[in-house]
Amino acid sequence: MKRLSLLALLLLAQSVMAADLKPFHPASRTAIEQAHAGQPFVLAFWSVDCAYCPEEIRHLGALVRKRPDIRLVLVSVDGMEMKSEVGTKLAEYLPDGKGERWIFAADDPDRLYFAIDRKWHGELPRTYFYDGKGDVQGRSGVVSSTWLVEWARSIAR
């Protein structure tokens, strides 16, 4: 019985997470930047179809657990119809619920890529590191833990 209720709880948690995904529109990157202005944060794009993304998200989850002063914003580039899969994956990668969670909500993903960063060709993972003082670094591919540690160290607590 205990097991059953645990399962029910997990299922509930997943559906809540799916429902919690915020729709990402062309103006959303700017909105996110404004909401986090003046504080360090990481803006990470991923998809359920990207074989390298789980590793990246887990790295980032570990980072913000260690450094609560750094915020994490995750954006799935899967469409809205993928909400439940996206919620399930995030529950798997970040069971503690870390990170603000968004999902692409436009019928033209190309337009979103363009609005986010003209130099981004859609490769995943794609992550932007904001130091909170105006510097932002965009990185494609899984970021090495060494680099991540260095970057976090460069940000005073």
Partner: protein, 401 residues
């Protein structure tokens, strides 16, 4: 049929594109059908009729136009049972013709498990009125990656289907061995698609999520061009020649951008046969110094690539090239974005790709748009482009030869 050879080449180009990684990975049948997609493949048959394969409601649909794409007949369902059909970006159904009017269709069926799929094949022997029950082409049918298929038919009727396959990665994992990337597998039919009697591996260590370029050549063989994972996660491209029984030319490295990245680029290459001397290649390279699209010639005797020429506006997300060659004339199209539109840019060569024209804008649309493809009815070369706002468009590139 022989004069249509360039069309076969093109097939290969028709691949599965990009993707923003959004293959339809839905988890249950009710949602399987949901999303409308602009991803289509088109091809002229030898009578100059235009055929189109698209995805609708979990089905691959094939339709025909007798007026150069202005109107299409009522589409015919290839798979009667709806399933999750890869139909976005670098994933899309493919269509090709046999020697005797057979119509061949392939697609990637997405499974519930992440990254998993099967390569499906069906054919029509009655001019597209009906299609055979779809078969799974990949012999390993574990719920793992078998995706991003490409289809080419050689002049002798040999059918080649190539795809990205993770069976060797699974085996390596089980044995505790390291394995980078995925593998390229090929299945061959020599009986007009009644069966695929041969399956073999072309290479270990391919990139995981990019369309494969493949084009048939005279004599019943084909050349295959894909994004590979070289030592240290370098995502350059390899090329190989394949035949009915196996690999004829072992993989050779064909591009040297040294893009080092642990990522899914979702951006596969294009190939077109230039003549007896070799092949035209086009691809995307994300290296930090000079990211962008590149084109080069590949000598098919020496298996050496000419210096790569960069094209397109990398700051406008230039991507997803398509190539077409007729003799010494070569056409190249790709997609870019502006603040308001998706545009298709083009350039041409009159000397086999040694020099190229200035770029020009071929078409634009204000909404979502598919990637561009070049096809020919044997007389003219056309840009084939599906758009949300302006519908399907077939635009002449200029009279060939």
């Amino acid at each position: 049929m022989r004069k249509l050879a360039p069309i076969y080449l093109l097939l290969l180009l028709l691949p599965c594109m990009e993707v923003a990684a959004h293959e339809a990975h839905t988890h249950n049948k009710t949602t399987a059908a949901a999303r409308a997609t602009l991803a289509v493949s088109t091809l002229f048959d030898e009578q100059g009729r235009l055929w189109r394969a698209e995805v609708d409601g979990g089905r691959v649909m094939v339709s025909r136009s007798d007026d150069n794409g202005h109107t299409f007949r009522t589409p015919v369902a290839v798979n009667r049972q709806p399933e999750k059909v890869g139909g976005e970006g670098e994933l899309r159904p493919k269509i090709a013709f046999g020697k005797n009017g057979e119509i061949y269709v392939t697609w990637t069926q997405a499974l519930d498990k992440s990254y998993a799929g099967h390569i499906k094949f069906s054919r029509s022997l009655d001019d597209g009125k009906s299609f055979s029950a779809p078969v799974i082409v990949n012999r390993n049918t574990d719920p793992i990656t078998h995706r991003f298929e490409s289809l080419a038919v050689a002049d002798d009727g040999t059918i080649y289907v190539a795809w990205i396959d993770k069976r060797d990665l699974q085996a390596a994992k089980a044995a505790g061995r390291k394995y980078d990337g995925a593998a390229i597998y090929v299945a061959v039919s020599r009986d007009g698609g009644a069966s695929f009697g041969t399956e073999y591996k072309v290479a270990d260590g391919s990139c995981e999520c990019c369309r494969i370029g493949m084009a048939a050549e005279p004599g019943g063989t084909a050349v295959i061009f894909w994004r590979h994972v070289y030592d240290g996660s370098i995502r350059d491209h390899a090329v190989a020649r394949i035949g009915p029984q196996g690999v004829l030319q072992e993989p050779v490295r064909a591009t040297f951008g040294n893009w080092k990245i642990d990522a899914c680029p979702h951006h596969g290459p294009a190939i077109a046969r230039g003549g007896d001397w070799g092949w035209h290649l086009a691809w995307y390279d994300g290296n930090e110094k000079k990211p962008g699209l590149y084109v080069a010639r590949l000598d098919s005797e020496a298996w050496v690539t000419s210096p790569a020429r960069r094209f397109g506006n990398a700051d406008a997300q230039a991507g997803h090239p398509s190539l077409f060659a007729q003799g010494e004339r070569v056409w190249l199209v790709w997609k870019e974005l502006t603040d308001t539109h998706a545009v298709i840019m083009a350039m041409e060569s009159g000397d086999g790709g040694r020099s190229w024209s200035e770029t020009r804008k071929m078409a634009e649309t204000s909404g979502a748009a598919d990637n561009p493809f070049l096809i020919s009815d044997g007389r003219q070369v056309y840009l084939s482009w599906n758009t949300k706002a302006d519908g399907y468009r077939l635009i002449p590139m200029g009279v060939g030869q």
